[in-house]
Structures are given as structure tokens and as C-alpha cells.
């Protein structure tokens, strides 16, 4: 019973928090341009309004197009359930969590690309081919960063990794974890199609990636797709903050009080990282598409240097 309650709380926290991050990023961007910007909760209103509308489906499309939003949403939710958000309790107690997590996220992305190809619109095809390229470039960094953390904590299960990180103390004072932190920021930016890689606020431009794949969707389907993408972004941020900045309540859960405190600390950490991402978005311009390999190389180099510092040079043995 208690177990189910924790699962529900975790799910609710993730779903309720995910659109807020977009709101915060938009607000900071508006602030940097000396605009008032939309209200912080506007993203929620938009989603609710879209949910109430019927969706228009092209006659030429097949079942893939109709089923894709639900698959994207459910893969994001499944990924969210694999990551311990506020407590040690993890619903899906399976071995090999990291690999499962990455492949679940990969499944969602695969169906997004299929659905974009399905309607045979020109933008959809371009969007999915670009998305494929970006994901190929960034996937090695995701794998290497998570496996490096796994190697250091000698486990691939996320709760055990977090336990080991808490044992280290403050991971961000060691070179290897600073490197992983920076590399993971680049990964989050690329995976959630933020500005140096893709501009989330453009419509009908030749440079868009994620928006191009969403172009055919409307109404309920669009709302579910967008919420799925936001949850995916939050899952990645959660991974970053809970692995590299662990807090006490994350490990030892005792009753409701600790849970509430844990949720507050968690939200504070996530918002901090969101602000960092927003500042990065304000300070940079969108890269030329063929410069994205350079960004991916930089994130890979960060991981390489971190690996070298920890495993080969053995600078500061944790």
C-alpha cells in the first residue's frame, strides 16, 4: 500500500513539474530580452486546452501515426518510474536499469521519427532525419557518462549508484564528476532540443528539428506528444541532479516528513539546473546543423578527460 502511494507521488511530482520547467526557461528568456513574457503557468493552460480539442488526422496516415503519441508518452512515464526521484523506492526493480532506461527513451524517439515519416510531409522527413543524426551523435556520450558513474559505484542499478554517490560525500569536488556534470548538461540540451542544437520556439523554419516532427499533430495528440517530450527532459535532469548532487532523504526514507522535505530539495535542485540551462540558452546562438558534431565531440572529450583523471591518472582516489 505504502509502496503504491510512493509510486503515485513520484508520478504526480514528475508530471506536474515537467511543464513548469518550460515555463521557467521561457520566463528567463523573456526577461533577458526585456519582455514580460507569458505567465509562468501558461504552459499548463496550453496543454489543458489542447487536451480538450479533437485532433485532426490525415487520411493518408496509417496506425503508426495514431499510436505514436501514446507510445511516446508511456515510454517517458516508464523512464520516469525507473529513476528514483524523491525516495529510494523504485517501482521497476529490474537489473540493468541504466541500459533499460536508455533503450526505453530510444524507443520513444524511434516512434516519434516513424510518426513524422508516416504522413509523408516534407518537413516531417527532414525533421526525423535530423533527429536521427543528433541522436546518433549524442548517444555515445549518454552511454559513456552513465557507465562511468556505474563503474565508479560498481553497479548499473540506479538506486545503488545513488547510494554510492552519497557515500562519496560531495561528488562535485572531484574532477571526474565535474566533467560528467558538464558533459551531461550538453546531453540534456541536445536531447531536449534546446537552443545550441535546435530552437524550440520556431515554427515553419528550415532549421527546426523537433518541431518539424510535431508539425502534423494537433489537439489531444499534440498535447500528449509535448508532455512526453517535457517529461523526458525532466527525467534527464533528474538523473543529473540525483546522481551527482545526492541529498540525504534520497537514500534513507523515513515516513511522510522526510518525503515532503525530499520533494522540496528535489524541486530546488531541478530548478537550479533548469536556470543553468536557460542561461546557456540565452548566451548562445543556434549552431549551424553541421557544427553539431563539434558540440557532441566536446561532450565526449569532457567524458574522456574525466575518465583519464579517475581511472588512469588516479588523481584523487575517491
Amino acid at each position: 500500500m505504502q509502496y503504491a502511494a510512493y509510486v503515485l507521488i513520484q508520478l504526480l511530482v514528475i508530471i506536474m513539474l515537467a511543464p513548469l520547467l518550460d515555463g521557467i526557461i521561457r520566463k528567463i528568456k523573456a526577461f533577458s530580452q526585456k519582455r514580460t513574457g507569458i505567465p509562468l503557468l501558461q504552459v499548463y493552460y496550453d496543454l489543458l486546452k489542447l487536451l480538450r480539442k479533437t485532433s485532426v488526422v490525415s487520411e493518408e496516415s496509417t496506425w503508426v501515426y495514431k499510436i505514436a503519441p501514446y507510445i511516446v508518452f508511456s515510454t517517458s512515464i516508464a523512464a520516469a518510474l525507473l529513476v528514483p526521484v524523491t525516495t529510494k523506492i523504485m517501482p521497476g526493480t529490474l537489473p540493468g536499469d541504466i541500459i533499460l532506461l536508455i533503450s526505453i527513451l530510444g524507443l520513444g524517439r524511434f516512434f516519434t521519427m516513424l510518426a513524422a515519416l508516416d504522413t509523408a510531409s516534407m518537413f516531417g522527413g527532414m525533421g526525423s532525419s535530423r533527429e536521427a543524426m543528433v541522436s546518433i551523435l549524442i548517444e555515445p556520450s549518454v552511454l559513456v557518462s552513465l557507465f562511468m558513474v556505474g563503474l565508479i559505484s560498481k553497479s548499473t542499478s540506479l538506486p545503488q549508484i545513488m547510494q554510492a554517490m552519497k557515500g562519496i560525500g560531495a561528488p562535485l569536488t572531484y574532477p571526474v564528476f565535474v566533467m560528467i556534470f558538464l558533459a551531461f548538461l550538453i546531453i540534456i540540451i541536445a536531447e531536449s532540443s534546446r537552443i545550441p542544437v535546435d530552437d524550440p520556439s520556431t515554427h515553419l523554419e528550415l532549421t527546426m528539428v523537433h518541431e518539424a516532427m510535431m508539425l502534423e499533430y494537433s489537439g489531444r495528440h499534440l498535447a500528449i506528444m509535448e508532455l512526453g517530450a517535457m517529461i523526458k527532459q525532466l527525467v534527464l535532469i533528474t538523473l543529473l541532479v540525483n546522481i551527482l548532487i545526492p541529498h540525504d532523504q534520497l537514500i534513507a526514507v523515513t515516513g511522510i516528513g522526510a518525503l515532503v522535505v525530499s520533494i522540496f530539495i528535489y524541486v530546488a535542485k531541478v530548478i537550479t539546473v533548469t536556470i543553468i540551462i536557460a542561461i546557456a540558452e540565452v548566451c548562445t546562438v543556434k549552431l549551424r546543423f553541421f557544427s553539431i558534431p563539434n558540440l557532441a565531440t566536446l561532450s565526449f572529450i569532457l567524458l574522456f578527460l574525466g575518465f583519464l583523471q579517475y581511472f588512469i591518472l588516479g588523481g584523487s582516489n575517491v
Binding site: 574532477p175 565531440t297 566536446l298 572529450i301 578527460l305 588523481g315 584523487s316
Partner: protein
């Protein structure tokens, strides 16, 4: 206790990787500023944290900020503004390959440093490997860029690397040596800036490939 020196030395190394991945001359200069700021931080942190409390290292920190963060980059930017410059491809190989080759340089410097006897202590080892790699990457940067200003920045990065190596291996050089080195660098930059200006006047470009035509 010394782990923040490790973090700083890795950041310095990574800033030279960023320099390698840069495309424009303005961003070379910006990255050089950041790297020098990190070095100033290292010197300052060392001055505070060592047992005796070395005041001269704090002076050196201030000197680095004045010279390498403010004065020399400003001078380079002035030179850059005075020569006519067209944005074009400046490097010999494409950027991912250059960056991966720089990785190989780090590995190489690890193998070469690990054969030196006397520095068996693990902590010192990592920092020295990082700063030796900064020297090698600076040299490689000089080879990989065609434009003269890029080569000046490469020279300055080599100098940064030498200084950081000295800093980490001795924990603070004698003050008079520091002063000598800084004055040398300043003179070199002034002379090189003048030469860039002259090259640009003679050949209408600062591309050093054009100097090959002098062979006749």
C-alpha cells in the same frame, strides 16, 4: 585537500580543448582570456592554501589578471581590428579530428611523464600530465591554424602551459623568475602584433601560407 587543484588543472586542460574546437579568431581570444583567468585562480588559491601563505603568489595572480586577462587580449583584439580579415576556413583538418588528435596528445604526455622518476606521488602526477598536455596542445594549435593571430594565441597557450607546469611542480616559482617570464611574453606579443600588421600590409592577408611564395 588538494582536489580543487585537480579540478582547476582539468579545467585549464579542457579550456585548451575548447580553444582547439573554436572557429573564429574572436573566440580564440575569448577562450585565452578564460584560460588565463583559471590560471590566475590557481595561483591565487595556491597562495592562500599553502602552509606558509605566500604573498608573492597573490601578486603573481594579480599580475596574470592584468597582463593575460586584460592587457594582451585587448592588444590582440586591436591588432585583429586593424587588419582586414575575411571569414574563411582557418584550420587544416576538420575540428572533430583535431580534437581527437589532441586527446592522443594527452595520452602521449601521460606516457612520457610516467617514465620520469621522482614524481611518484599520484596527486602531483595528474596535475603535471594535464599541464604538459596544455603545452603540447598549444603547439598543435599553432600547427593547425593558418592565420597569424591564431599562431600568436597558440604561442601564448604554450606559455600558459609552461607556467602552469612550473606552478604545479614547484608550488610557486621565485618571484623574480615570474616577473622575467611575464615581461618576455609581453614583449613577444608586442613584436608579433607588429609583425602581423606588417604581413597584412605587404600581402593583403594574414594567411601565413602566402609567405611561401617568397621562395621564388
Amino acid at each position: 585537500m588538494f582536489s580543487y587543484f585537480d579540478v582547476l588543472s582539468v579545467q585549464i586542460l579542457f579550456s585548451s580543448f575548447i580553444l582547439m574546437a573554436n572557429k573564429r579568431i574572436k573566440s580564440y581570444i575569448k577562450t585565452f582570456r578564460i584560460q588565463s583567468l583559471l590560471i590566475a585562480l590557481t595561483a591565487g588559491a595556491m597562495g592562500f592554501s599553502l602552509e606558509k601563505g605566500r604573498i608573492d603568489l597573490l601578486v603573481v595572480c594579480l599580475l596574470i589578471i592584468v597582463l593575460k586577462v586584460i592587457l594582451i587580449p585587448n592588444m590582440l583584439e586591436k591588432t585583429y581590428a586593424s587588419v582586414e580579415y575575411i571569414v574563411e576556413k582557418d584550420f587544416i583538418l576538420n575540428i572533430p579530428i583535431l580534437v581527437i588528435l589532441s586527446c592522443a596528445l594527452v595520452v602521449f604526455s601521460y606516457f612520457s611523464v610516467s617514465t620520469i622518476e621522482g614524481i611518484n606521488s599520484g596527486i602531483i602526477n595528474a596535475q603535471i600530465v594535464n599541464s604538459m598536455s596544455v603545452i603540447l596542445i598549444g603547439l598543435f594549435f599553432m600547427i593547425s591554424r593558418k592565420k597569424a593571430i591564431g599562431q600568436i594565441v597558440g604561442f601564448l597557450v604554450v606559455e600558459n602551459g609552461l607556467y602552469v607546469t612550473a606552478l604545479f611542480s614547484t608550488h610557486g616559482l621565485p618571484f623574480i623568475v615570474d616577473l622575467g617570464v611575464f615581461i618576455d611574453v609581453l614583449t613577444a606579443v608586442v613584436i608579433m602584433g607588429f609583425m602581423v600588421f606588417n604581413i597584412s600590409e605587404k600581402f593583403d592577408s594574414i594567411d601565413i601560407e602566402k609567405l611561401n611564395k617568397l621562395r621564388g
